[in-house]
Symmetry: C2
Subunit: 194 residues, 2 copies
């Protein structure tokens, strides 16, 4: 069973939903780190149901097919709990951004600077959005501080996202600074250096 299955169980553990609403929720990254499309979600729901982890009831809706409201089963909740509490996988994060930075020495100074400033600008934008969401959590009351309320985990991932963007912006500033300081080293001059 893959990670997507657990992401769906996590959403259904909060409240029952239709596949469509799950797809909506996972369109904007859940926990700021996981996305999925409806074309992945519908088949996955069928597998989860075959395994007895979720069940559905047909409700009124506006689609051309039956509208199905899914809820997590007690088995599903148990499986989800077991997964959260199992040994950590060794994660290999992928970031196209850092791959570009790794080859940054190939770009002229002004283009390198433009790239880092673009990265920074996107970080600033995401951070602003996260701050709005933080205010929404605060406005919603004390549920974010209640270890047994669904918002507890969601708020913790938001704080992680905020810290991550802060760190990214700081790192961009450090690198822009560095690019400015390392100016006018062309290849002919660099032979004479050191």
């Amino acid at each position: 069973m893959g990670t997507l299955g657990y992401a769906i169980l996590g959403l259904l553990a909060k409240e029952p939903r239709t596949g469509y609403k799950l797809a909506r929720a996972m369109n904007q990254p859940i926990g700021y780190i996981w996305t999925a499309r409806h074309s992945q979600i519908y088949p996955e729901l069928a597998y989860l149901e075959a395994d007895g982890l979720v069940r559905h009831t047909v409700v009124d809706g506006r689609g051309p097919r039956e509208t199905k409201r899914y809820e997590i089963t007690t088995t599903g909740t148990a499986v989800l709990r077991r997964w959260i509490d199992s040994p950590l996988p060794t994660h290999s994060p992928r970031s196209e951004l850092m791959l570009r930075v790794w080859s940054l020495w190939l770009l002229p100074s002004d283009r390198a600077r433009a790239l880092i400033e673009d990265i920074r600008a996107e970080g600033v934008e995401r951070l602003a959005q996260y701050r709005i969401e933080e205010q929404q959590f605060i406005a919603e009351g004390p549920s974010k501080d209640d270890r047994e309320a669904p918002n507890f985990g969601a708020y913790a991932t938001l704080m992680w996202g905020i810290a991550r963007e802060d760190q990214l912006i700081e790192w961009c500033d450090w690198l822009i600074e560095r690019l400015a300081h390392a100016t006018d080293n062309n290849s002919s001059q660099s032979e004479s250096r050191r």
Copy 2:
């Protein structure tokens, strides 16, 4: 052309290598963010060569087949430069860790704490390794400060990795603190809160 192709070009821009050495390099994440297996690299090298971005010469080796040393072509370098300097893709990072944290409200306090402490311990371990690599950069001389030397980008990604692990550890401490403060709220008591 996919991201793996650019990762390979980035490595070959530094120095020519065999497919085996590329695979070794990408076994430990390059730039701390990209991994690949040899089964992906060998076919990709063939595509890159068909597109004229790399070329190979047969050298002495110990394999059952010919040993091929690949180098980047001038076209390859141009294509790599253009990629680094092209509009940023909207990135959707995936982190199984944060997905677990999102559902953390389902775990009892002690298990939740154990999970976060595991995450923290792994962060500390990676950080220690990164610090060693930082010392190696410093020992290697001023190349990390030379905007036109390959080490410039590699050092920048390392600093990013260090900042990221620092941030992760801080966040873990914040959450452990929070888990301790939010103790003994069971569901019956939580009704009377606030």
